[in-house]
Amino acid sequence: AQSVTQLDSHVSVSEGTPVLLRCNYSSSYSPSLFWYVQHPNKGLQLLLKYTSAATLVKGINGFEAEFKKSETSFHLTKPSAHMSDAAEYFCVVTNFGNEKLTFGTGTRLTIIP
């Protein structure tokens, strides 16, 4: 069984300040973890993924996430927010060979000018 919990439904930060979007997961096997971003009325774009290689994963647009097995967390961070980062972010878990992705309920990120 697998599940994912996004701890904040809405996060607001000022432009130029750090971003932290929190995600905790549960998985019976070694997980594959992803962060996707969705802009309004658009499809989901892959930001980054963890698949048991380096625990600090770098993604596109300056985002990165750290896999912490002891805390079962996979939080997404960015040092400096940009207006274009305003979107919905989804944390996703699966296992190798599993057809099903399990999605979190999403975190809406608002950037304050």
Partner: protein, 114 residues
Amino acid sequence: SQTIHQWPATLVQPVGSPLSLECTVEGTSNPNLYWYRQAAGRGLQLLFYSVGIGQISSEVPQNLSASRPQDRQFILSSKKLLLSDSGFYLCAWRGARRGGDTQYFGPGTRLTVL
């Protein structure tokens, strides 16, 4: 490079009318294909997936159906739409080879049933 297309982009249909949404993938062979629905204010729900032509697995029993008539074509259908079918429909693909567990999403179709 691989690309995924969905059409139409938006659709407004009356209750009881039929539905056909199409998804095609370019630049890859024998992909695994997926249909998701995203209702307003909710996460994504997996509806169907396919690992090959004519092979469809259904995740949620409802009045929708899926078909895969060609390797890179995936169709979502309904004979009679319900109000509850409104939502944002996303198609996704992933490589079938070992280790290819990343799913890539299309641009989506916004369906409004009135």
